[in-house]
């Protein structure tokens, strides 16, 4: 097995630390299992590439990249992009949920005040 370059060490150790942090966040219920998935995938990928020089070299050649370190950066960038896009999609969904809840609240409050007053549904011309 070839010696690991310094960049690989950084990537590998970083990935392991990331995995530990992510799993600990899940354990403390600060991060839901659903959202942990992408992060776990990323850290496993980082660790594999960090520890396996042949795989990293193979991917580097496949992508036509000159240096292995660039491959590591490239993969990190792809991951960040995918994660941000995923979060934008989730945010849009949350926005819709938030609208529906706010509207429901408006109707419920109106109904509650009407019932409290014992008022009929009709509008009196004033």
């Amino acid at each position: 097995m070839e010696m690991l370059s310094r960049a690989q060490w950084v990537s590998a150790v970083g990935a392991v630390v990331l995995a530990i942090v992510v799993l600990d966040l899940v354990r403390r219920r600060r991060l839901s299992e659903e959202y942990s998935l992408l992060w776990v995938v990323a850290s496993v990928l980082g660790a594999v590439l960090g520890f396996s020089t042949p795989l990293l070299q193979w991917i580097t050649r496949l992508l036509g990249i000159r240096y292995e370190t660039s491959t590591v950066f490239f993969i990190g960038l792809v991951f960040a992009t995918v994660l941000l896009l995923y979060q934008s999609v989730r945010l849009s969904r949350l926005g819709q949920d938030h609208l529906a809840l706010t509207r429901e609240l408006a109707f419920l409050r109106h109904e509650l005040e009407r019932l409290r007053r014992g008022a009929p549904e009709t509008q009196e011309p004033n």
Partner: protein
């Protein structure tokens, strides 16, 4: 309801100053219609002002956008059996004296949507130049999309028939319900008429259209118009 089949929906954001005038004008011009105020997360006394008028008020706890406020009004209209919903801004821009003219074609079944338009006949309204450019552009977008010209795509003074409201309750733009909405409704087979109205400068408060929005508006409505065309056509 008090025998009226028309509900005037007044979306209001921080309009405590102009709301009383608008409500009084509606009362004077059309005493028979019912009025609903949708307070879209105002930080001033808009909600209390509307309630003190003895009107039903629906209050969004947070600001959701003028489209969302209108959609809330549509749901109220449908749940309470109204057959026509009229959108009328709280800021005094829309003159309630044109309510009857706007409602008539919908009630007579001549159209599903009546748009109060500044440009069908000569009116005294003079928009700022950038605004005019935008209006002209979106009129063009609508023409390209549906093959008919709608002179005033940005008018917020409209009467919606019940079937239109039933569609809009499920799918409606959250902000700026303009060109993409009109394209969508036309593609669903709804008929519209433009009714000449006069519009005034706002009485008080701030317009929905601030600088950042004036940059976002063309982008959003261009993209949304394109997306309407790319989606499968639905008949209603």
């Amino acid at each position: 309801m008090a025998g009226s089949d028309v509900l005037v929906i007044v979306p209001a954001l921080d309009e405590e100053a102009s709301l009383p005038g608008t409500l009084a004008e509606i009362r004077a011009a059309a005493p028979a219609v019912d009025v609903l105020v949708v307070d879209d997360g105002s930080r001033d006394r808009t909600f209390d002002v509307a309630r003190d008028h003895g009107l039903p008020v629906l209050r969004h706890t947070v600001n959701l956008g003028v489209g969302a406020a209108l959609q809330t009004g549509f749901r109220f209209a449908i749940e309470h059996g109204y057959s026509i919903g009229v959108q009328l801004d709280a800021d005094g821009q829309h003159d309630p004296r044109f309510l009857a003219a706007l409602v008539a074609p919908v009630r007579e079944g001549r159209c599903d949507l009546a748009i109060g338009s500044r440009y069908v006949a000569h009116t005294s309204y003079q928009a700022p130049r950038m605004r005019r450019l935008g209006m002209w552009m979106f009129s063009g977008v609508v023409y390209l999309a549906i093959g008919h010209r709608i002179a005033d795509t940005t008018s917020g003074f409209r009467a919606y028939g019940r079937r239109v409201m039933e569609v809009c309750v499920h799918d409606f733009p959250r902000d700026f319900p303009d060109a993409p909405l009109l394209i969508d409704l036309a593609r669903r087979g709804f008929r519209w008429i433009e009714v000449p109205v006069e519009m005034r400068a706002r009485v008080a408060g701030e317009s929905f259209y601030t600088l950042s929005k004036s940059l976002y508006y063309p982008y959003k409505n261009m993209l949304a118009s394109l997306m309407v065309l790319l989606r499968r056509r639905e008949r209603s």
